[in-house]
């Protein structure tokens, strides 16, 4: 499979994507009280690593991801992407993949992938070429002319990933991207994501509810507690790559998943 290396970014972004989160807190002000959503979060993601955030519902893991994307500002602390703060979204540094609903239904798959380039006024031919490369990378060659409603859930999510990668950002943030998929598609998409990740060398931060998915995909799993969200554990996954289906039933896998589950059960 062809890597994205032949897609030149508009600004030459550093290839490596490092994320530093220092003492980040988030407080939501409501009319009656202040709700502490995140408290004193510090973590570091080294370039090219695959990091998964897990935690009970409402622990603020998606909020943390949105802050890394520049879509939301933290109340306190610092977030650095490649040693620079991210006060607003910067698609040259960070690509974001949401749940499947975020494709524009009135655009074709390739127009969806071209969308971030079109916003910047990139010429049509160059846009098309980059979109084709990105679609090829996610295994959707020849599906560019279809609209989202003509694609399966898994294919839509591939388009989403292609859209996140089209500007070749060093960091890819994924907010429960496979949550709406059925079990089989989810497994296949996990393998596909690992293949794309290996081919591109991106830094990936992935939010999920699924403990199996977390252990299966990650170099490192970060476990968060319920509100106020804080980091309660950080596990390095020693399983070799490429990950295979057989590992799911192994002892190492089970032990790691149990350890995460005990944290989550305690705080949920």
């Amino acid at each position: 499979m062809q890597p994205l290396a032949n897609i030149t970014p508009l600004k030459p972004a550093p290839r490596a994507g490092a994320i530093k989160v220092g003492n980040v807190g988030q407080v939501f002000k409501t009319s009656t009280q202040d709700v502490v959503a995140l408290s004193d979060i510090s973590l570091e993601v080294k370039p090219g690593r695959f990091v998964v955030l897990v935690g009970p519902s409402g622990c603020g893991k998606s909020t943390l991801l949105m802050m890394m994307a520049g879509l939301r500002q933290q109340t306190s602390g610092t977030i650095l992407i490649n040693d620079a703060p991210i006060p607003e979204p910067d698609p040259n540094r960070v690509g974001v993949v949401f749940q499947e609903a975020s494709l524009f239904p009135w655009l074709t798959a390739e127009e969806n992938v071209e969308f971030p380039l079109a916003l910047r006024g990139v010429a049509k031919a160059e846009r098309r070429a980059k979109a084709e490369d990105a679609l090829k990378l996610v295994g959707l060659e020849g599906f560019g002319k279809r609209h989202p409603h003509e694609l399966s859930g898994g294919m839509k999510q591939r388009v989403s990933i292609a859209r996140g990668l089209v500007q070749d950002p060093p960091v890819l943030l994924m907010d429960e991207p496979f949550a709406a998929l059925d079990e089989q598609t989810r497994m296949t998409m996990g393998d596909e994501l690992l293949r794309i990740w290996a081919a591109t060398g991106k830094t990936v931060v992935f939010v999920t509810h699924s403990l199996t998915e977390a252990v299966y995909l990650a170099d490192e799993v970060i476990v968060m507690s319920a509100r106020p969200g804080r980091i309660v554990d950080q596990l390095t996954i020693p399983l070799p790559r490429p990950r295979t289906y057989e590992m799911l039933s192994g002892d190492t896998f089970g032990t790691l998943r149990d350890r995460i589950w005990r944290h989550i059960r305690k705080s949920a």
């Binding site: 879509l71 979204p89 949401f98 239904p105 009135w106 971030p116 916003l119 609209h147």
Partner: protein, 266 residues
């Protein structure tokens, strides 16, 4: 047999019954004159009906601009800004339940019995549903779409033009369908009540002298107008069908469109 053929058969048999039943004497001509005599009556007074149609179409066209243009504009503002929404929406919604036709006599006092009072009444009559549908359409836009656009660096105006407006099109169209139909109703009804011109006025006048053939000729004209309006809306919907499919509002609207029309132009 497909439902389309069945529908056509039903329409054809209704037309046939309209001709046959009065001719056979099963229905008195005063209640329902036969189709051919209705057409003949209309044809004989073609000048009068033509003039009436021109008046009515003029009133409908102006009212459409006010009702649909104003409704979409007001709906977009009310739908996207929470302040006006909280203030205005409850008022509009309760106003919607009031039979607005009670206001028509007031309009004739203000604006006279000419076209102005019809336009004012029909505009308000069609404005409310268009505005409510547009406001609802803007509000039901998936916030994830806007968030995704923001994550790709879209500015406020890019978000409006490239995301919010295209995403609102299906609901705006369904609002136009209801609002536009109500404009026609509003114009014809007000012409029937107090007026000196237009198809509604002709229907009303011929009814008082029990000239059923001429009454039904007018009814046919209004029917033709409604069918033409429906065809126009369908044409617009087909043009926008790519927008519609894939959104929840669109899937309902798309059921009325032949399957071939919703295939993308490849």
């Amino acid at each position: 047999m497909s439902s389309t053929t069945l529908r056509r058969l039903i329409v054809i048999s209704l037309i046939l019954l309209w001709e046959v039943l009065p001719r056979a004497g099963l229905i008195p001509e005063l209640f329902l004159p036969s189709l051919s005599s209705t057409l003949a009556a209309g044809w004989n007074e073609a000048g009068e009906y033509g003039h009436a149609l021109a008046v009515t179409l003029y009133e409908v066209a102006i009212s459409m601009v006010f009702a649909c243009g104003g409704g979409i504009l007001a709906g977009a503002i009310v739908g996207s800004l929470p302040g006006p929404r909280i203030l205005i929406m409850p008022m509009i919604s309760s106003l919607y339940a009031v039979p607005l036709v009670i206001l028509y006599p007031v309009f004739t006092v203000w604006l006279g019995i000419g076209s102005e009072s019809k336009i004012a009444f029909a505009s308000i009559y069609g404005f409310l549903p268009t505005m409510l549908a547009t406001a609802a359409g803007i509000q039901t836009i998936d916030p994830q779409l806007v968030l995704a656009a923001r994550s790709m660096g879209a500015t406020l105006s890019q978000r409006l033009i490239r995301v919010i407006i295209p995403a609102a099109i299906p609901t705006v169209l369904s609002g136009l369908r209801v609002g536009g139909a109500l404009v026609i109703v509003g114009v014809v009804v007000s012409e029937m009540l107090i007026s000196s011109a237009g198809i509604g006025y002709l229907i009303s006048r011929y009814r008082t002298i029990l000239d059923s053939q001429h009454v039904f000729a007018g009814v046919l004209l209004v029917l033709a107008m409604a069918i033409a309006f429906n065809a126009a809306i369908k044409w617009i919907e087909r043009k926008a069908s790519i927008w519609q499919t894939g959104t929840r509002a669109g899937q309902r609207a798309a059921e009325d469109i032949p399957v071939t029309a919703i295939q993308p132009a490849t």
